[in-house]
């Protein structure tokens, strides 16, 4: 299975280096990859239908609990078959659809990567590796949606899609880690065993909310649905593959996968029913107001996704069987419709339903495919869509509460979905062919066979539901934790309530299709409500956030050095002040250990104090520099008094040198500015003084502590004996701590080089652009 997943990635990697080969007719050969994978997964069918689960384990990052544990059960198998099967058709279709495109190799690369990621996602038994593949589907879909990268709209939708699914991804990450934390394992199989404890954990609500966040964003549930219509900017093969058949179903997959772990609780059902219900109806209504074929399809897709969530929310055997069937149904007919739309778009250059008509005359096989798909989406017998819809009504009717309301909601949605299917699959082919499209011809068979094949499959499964009943649907239902034998797929259940509801649905749907015509006016009409649409709310929020970001950044990074310094000092003073004054066990200051105060010390300190004030208050630069000199000399005298001759010498020489330096540059230095106003001076003064007081207090506190002179004593005792020097300070400098000194002279050297280059290096004026 690892090989199966990696195949897609290897294929894309191969294209990076050998992309040229695939640009010609060889492109179609790449379809062999999904085909062979399809056959490979098909080979598991017998085993799966017998209830087996196939597993493979590889170690990857065991330290983080992340291993490539793959398991193939009924749920996974359905998805793998969809991914590879529809993948095969899409790969084939693309060879013709994008024939001669400059970046065909890239496109296939992204497709391959996406396929691999999708397979990994549905095969992972390890929650973390599942997350990895989840993210990879997002990122590869980003590249696919933005494939026409010079178009701004295309870029924007790609970013929007990634932003929404990506943020969902982070929720999944958080949820996965929390779940792993609660369960003590990342293995989903083990989590199923631990379901009872997980459900009772205090974090259960959190886990569910986070996973729902991930699933709803990925599967375009209200109010996160809006990225999906936007993603229709992608080339049609992408819309087909990602946005109808596979990627958007990842969220559904996630919900199904975790039904046995997290399901059965009130929170789980209510949320899913509400969100799914709202989504399916809201999106279905939207199809009425779309004139772009892809727009119609996008909203009907959202609607179906809502329906699936709704079904998972019902969670009964009927409902989950319905979900399984519906996944198949939808994949078949929606992929067909997308591919058909793609052909129409490719050949006529238009997707406007108000203008397209009568195309059956020029592309009959396509028309047949469209018709079959539309019928299937309408749930007319003998299509598999009919089977699916019946199961939906069965499940709503059998639900323990609100069954009437839920059924009505389902009917209303199905009516609208029917309408959408007809608009997309029938309307372009019926009626009178406009003049402008008379020259349109049937495209390469590579393009029209895939939709036709899918459409026909929809009929075959409808007539012979047994083909999928035992082999796929039962293991699927088993995999989500229910008994798959309870419900059997049948085309004909006899005359009963459900059949009646189906008939009502069909009748209403057809009536709607006949009397309601899509128009640009209606589309504009609903556009007036855009300002309260989730998309615009999110965009508005985004803009608001951007403004906030701007404000925040300008507040802190405001360009004024003094504000930066004040902020830092304030931060320090507040932190330290808090630590010092909130602490209970303050030790009173012990002054007895301090040395006697003498008048000469006091005079020197007094002079120093005044000199410092003089520096601060001086209005002349030179005076300030001279006063700085006085401060330095006072420090030097202090060093003499407190037994530090080396320091005194150094301080004095350095001070003199600093004065010399100042004096040398002073004439080319700016005037001494005194710009700050009175208020500023007060504020800064208060801040500075509190900083100074803080330092003084710390110093006095430290002085009250006992001293440990072990190290100094070692130096003193061994200075001559071991290091052959009597000036201990010097011995420390050149021997005990010689590394410090070596680095100190390096600092000096670097500073000198810096000064030298600052003063001597001038980039020539005409080389102002000469940057690097």
């Amino acid at each position: 299975m690892l090989t199966a997943i990696l195949l897609g990635f290897i294929f894309s990697l191969f294209l990076v280096f050998a992309g040229k080969f695939i640009k010609g007719k060889l492109a179609v050969l790449s379809a062999l990859i999904p085909l062979s994978l399809f056959i490979y997964f098909l080979s598991f069918l017998p085993g799966i239908s017998e209830g087996k689960v196939f597993r493979q384990n590889y170690e990857w990052v065991p330290s983080l609990g992340l291993n490539l544990n793959f398991s193939l059960d009924g749920l996974s198998l359905l998805f793998t078959l969809l991914i590879t099967g529809i993948g095969f058709l899409v790969f084939t279709y693309t060879a013709a659809y994008l024939k001669g495109h400059d970046y065909l190799d890239r496109f296939y690369g992204y497709l391959g990567m996406f396929m691999g990621a999708m397979l990994g996602l549905v095969l992972s038994d390890n929650l973390l590796s599942m997350f990895i593949f989840w993210e990879l589907t997002s990122i590869s879909s980003f590249f696919l949606i933005g494939f026409n990268n010079t178009s701004e709209a295309s870029r924007k939708s790609a970013i929007l899609a990634l932003a929404i699914t990506g943020s969902g991804g982070f929720l999944l990450l958080a949820g996965a880690l929390l779940l792993g934390n609660v369960a003590g394992t990342y293995s989903i199989t083990e989590m199923v065993e631990l379901s009872n404890t997980i459900v009772q954990d205090e974090y259960y609500t959190w886990i569910v909310i986070l996973l729902f966040g991930a699933a709803f964003t990925k599967s375009a549930q209200f109010p996160f649905h809006f990225w999906l219509p936007g993603a229709m900017k992608a080339p049609t093969p992408v819309s087909t593959y990602l946005h109808s058949a596979t990627m958007v179903k990842a969220g559904i997959y996630l919900l199904l996968r975790f039904t046995p772990v997290l399901g059965g609780e009130e929170l789980w059902h209510t949320t899913l029913l509400t969100v799914g219900g709202v989504t399916m109806f809201y999106a279905a209504v939207h199809t009425l107001f779309r004139t772009d074929l892809k727009g119609v399809l996008a909203y009907s897709t959202i609607s179906v996704l809502g329906l699936l969530v709704f079904l998972i929310g019902l969670g009964t055997q009927y409902a989950l069987t319905a979900a399984a069937v519906y996944i198949v149904v939808h994949a078949l007919y929606k992929a067909t419709l997308f591919l058909v739309t793609g052909i129409i778009d490719h050949e006529t250059g238009s997707r406007d339903v108000t203008r397209l008509a009568g195309l059956r005359k020029v592309m009959l096989p396509v028309a047949i495919a469209g018709f079959l798909a539309a019928v299937s989406s309408a749930g007319m017998p003998p299509t598999v869509g009919f089977v699916g819809k019946d199961l939906v009504y069965e499940s709503t009717l059998h639900f323990e509460s609100w069954s009437v309301a839920l059924t009505i909601l389902a009917i209303a949605t199905n009516v609208l979905i029917l309408y959408a299917g007809f608009v997309a699959g029938i309307k372009p082919f019926t009626g009178k062919l406009p003049e402008e499209y008379s020259k349109v011809h049937l495209p390469s068979f590579l393009m029209w066979t895939p939709p036709l094949l899918l459409a026909i499959l929809g009929i075959i499964f409808g007539i012979f539901p047994g083909l999928i009943d035992q082999s796929i649907v039962k293991p699927f239902v088993n995999a989500v934790g229910l008994n798959g034998n309870a419900v059997h797929l049948k085309l004909w259940h006899g005359f009963n309530l459900v059949l009646g509801l189906s008939a009502v649905t069909l009748a209403l749907g057809v009536l709607l299709y006949i009397f309601f015509k899509p128009s640009a006016k209606k589309e504009k009409g609903i556009a007036r409500l855009d300002s309260i649409s989730p998309l615009n709310l999110i965009i508005g929020f985004g803009n608001g956030f951007r403004e906030f970001a701007n404000w925040w950044t300008r507040i802190f990074q405001n360009g004024f050095l003094r504000n930066y310094v004040s902020t830092i000092i304030l931060f320090l003073v507040v932190l330290v002040g808090y630590a010092m004054f909130t602490n209970q066990n303050q030790i009173p200051l012990d002054l007895s250990s301090f040395s006697r105060m003498t008048y000469y010390e006091m005079i020197i300190m007094g002079i120093m104090f005044l000199a410092i004030l003089f520096v601060v208050g001086s209005r002349s630069r030179l005076t300030a520099v001279v006063a700085m000199g006085v401060v330095g000399y006072a420090i030097c005298l202090m060093f003499v008094i407190y037994s530090a001759p080396d320091l005194a010498m150094t301080q004095f020489s350095i001070d003199t040198l600093t004065v010399i330096l100042f004096v040398l540059v002073l004439s080319s230095l700016p005037k001494y500015l005194s710009i700050s106003d009175y208020k500023m001076k007060i504020i800064d003064g208060v801040l500075s003084i509190s900083f100074g007081i803080m330092i003084t207090l710390i110093a006095l506190q430290v002085l009250g502590e006992p001293v440990d002179k072990e190290i100094s004593n070692f130096y003193a005792e061994n200075s001559y004996v071991l290091a052959k020097g009597k000036n201990v300070v010097n011995v420390i400098l050149v021997d005990f701590r010689g590394v410090d000194t070596l680095m100190e002279i390096s600092v000096l050297t670097i500073a000198a080089i810096g000064v030298f280059s600052l003063l001597k290096l001038r980039l020539r004026r005409d080389d102002r652009e000469l940057k690097d």
Binding site: V16, W60, V61, P62, S63, L64, L128, F131, I132, E135, I139, G146, N149, I159, G166, F170, L171, L173, L177, N181, T553, F556, Q557, Y564, I568, F571, L572, L575, V576, A579, M580, N583, N585, I587, A699, V702, L703, G704, K709, E710, I711, F714, D735, F736, R737, G738, V739, D740, M743, E744, V747, T749, I750, I753, S757, L761, R762, D766, R768, D772
Partner: protein, 502 residues
């Protein structure tokens, strides 16, 4: 036998700096010696790493004075790893500089200063003495001042004034902290301090002391609200300089914080709250800053800040797993940020512009290079399984187990914004068809450079990209390393025993 190997990374860099200084204006020689010296240094760093991996913490006492009397150099796994990363980034930037930095700058000591910087970094990672650490920090900041201002353009100087002032402030705070520490314990050796600080009775003072270190190192590692120097300056010097700055400078601060707070001070609840609050705000503030920028290097600068938050969050939670996450992120970040600034340098050399609104066409014009650049760019975002992803597992996971929900929110928010910003940048720079930019006179466009220079610029990007890929796909190895480092950091007895020869 004395493990002299501990000090070899310092010897090599110092020797290089001296030789390069002696070859003052012979820049061709300098290029050759810098690159080959960096290769040698990489060899030494690998050797050191392997030795430490096999034999455990190695120490050497400078001047043969036993600890705590002399200055000890300690190579534990953490230090050896960082020295190795410095060697890798150093080699990359050395080559990149040889190709990209213009002659006048090279003639004014670029390479010697650069190797002094690497010397400073190695020293800071290896030293076991707190005052000696200060000295290494000073080497680092003075070299960074010089590298930042070399060429003396207006923007450089404006940025440098702020960079300078705030970094000096950091040094002063650091020095103040050392003064307090010495006043309390009479010792400077970090292993010795570990026990001596624990014995101090006045815990308030110890806490105050820890806060001083936090602020001093916090400024250097660009934490909120101390980071202002970084966005003001990182985009002004040559890209080669931004690369080494972006990759390593703030990380030394992080290293110091991790070292000090695992070895010397213990994190009490107050400190933990401060660290975590600072971490979350750093994540937030950096992310928010990156959103509003249009200059590539400024975007990266804010992301440098933002991502420091991950590491501090890991430090603040103080569990083994969280620290391992922080360390993993540190490893990832050093390589990726270095690489990204080099990428921005190549883009600049090609287009002579840094504004993402004006740039474009990269995907159409340079498909292979775009693909290459995608590696560091998407590693930065942490698209799994690229390198930036893995540490988030540990960090978010520990956020849940320690109940620090704000940290989780911060991490996810920062990850999301990083994703958004990078994707936006990708769209603008690589996908969009850009404006027609005016051709600049005298600008050394990439296409006009000699083949050697092109190779010198692109090869390091390839090298670092491959290492990043290894980090991602070989995450198990890195995680094992990070776990070992975290274990050693939290159980510091091995370090202390190795230093004090107990």
């Amino acid at each position: 036998m004395i493990p002299q190997i501990v000090i070899y990374p310092l010897i090599v860099q110092m020797l290089l700096a001296i030789i390069l200084m002696a070859l003052w204006s012979r820049i061709n020689w300098q290029r050759i010696i810098s690159i080959s010296g960096s290769i040698l240094n990489l060899g030494v760093a690998v050797w050191l790493f392997i030795s430490v991996w096999n034999d455990g913490t190695l120490t050497i006492q400078a001047g043969n004075w036993e600890a705590p009397f002399g200055i000890t150099f300690v190579a534990d796994t953490f230090a050896a790893t960082l020295v190795l990363l410095t060697a890798i980034a150093g080699l990359a930037v050395s080559s990149f500089s040889a190709g990209s930095v213009i002659k006048p700058r090279l003639k004014f000591g670029f390479f010697p200063i650069f190797h002094f910087l690497l010397l400073g970094l190695n020293g800071a990672f290896l030293t076991g003495d707190i005052f000696n650490l200060y000295v290494w920090f000073e080497i680092i900041i003075i070299t960074s001042f010089v590298l930042l201002t070399i060429g003396g353009e207006k923007a450089q100087l404006e940025g440098a004034v702020k960079y300078f002032t705030l970094n000096i402030l950091a040094s002063i705070v650091f020095l103040t902290a050392i003064a307090v520490l010495y006043g309390l314990t009479g010792s400077l050796n970090m292993a010795d301090l570990a026990s001596k600080v624990a014995e101090v009775e006045n815990r308030t003072l110890v806490q105050v002391n820890a806060l001083l270190f936090l602020v001093g190192f916090g400024i250097k590692s660009a934490l909120f609200p101390l980071y202002f120097w970084l966005p003001a300056s990182y985009h002004t010097p040559p890209s080669a300089v931004s690369a080494i700055f972006g990759g390593l400078l703030t990380k030394v601060g992080v290293y110091a914080l991790v070292r000090v707070f695992t070895l010397i001070f213990e994190i009490d609840p107050f400190l933990e709250n401060v660290l975590l609050a600072v971490a979350v705000l750093t994540l937030f503030s950096g992310a928010v800053g990156a959103i509003v920028q249009n200059n590539i290097r400024k975007i990266f600068s804010y992301l440098v800040i933002c991502h420091i938050g991950y590491m501090i969050a890991g430090l603040g939670m103080m569990t083994e797993m969280a620290i391992a996450g922080a360390v993993f992120y540190l490893i990832h970040d050093i390589l990726v940020k270095t690489n990204l600034f080099m990428v921005s340098g190549v883009i600049y050399k090609i287009k002579a512009n840094h504004n993402i609104r004006k740039l474009g066409d990269f995907y159409a014009d340079h498909p292979k290079m775009s693909l290459l650049f995608a590696i560091p760019i998407f590693s930065l975002v942490g698209i799994p399984p690229l390198s930036g992803f893995w540490p988030k597992l540990s960090l978010v996971g520990e956020g849940w187990s320690t109940g620090n929900y704000m940290v989780i929110v911060g991490i996810l928010f920062a990850s999301f914004v990083t994703l958004f910003v990078i994707v936006k940048m990708w769209g603008e720079v690589f996908w969009k068809s850009g404006e027609k930019l005016p051709q600049l006179r005298n600008f050394p466009y990439f296409k006009n450079l000699s083949k050697v220079k092109k190779v010198q610029m692109v090869a390091p990007i390839i090298m670092l990209s491959f290492i990043s890929l290894y980090l991602g796909f070989g995450a198990e190895n890195i995680q094992t390393l990070a776990n070992r480092i975290a274990f050693e950091l939290l159980d510091n007895q091995e370090y202390i025993n190795a230093v004090l020869r107990k």
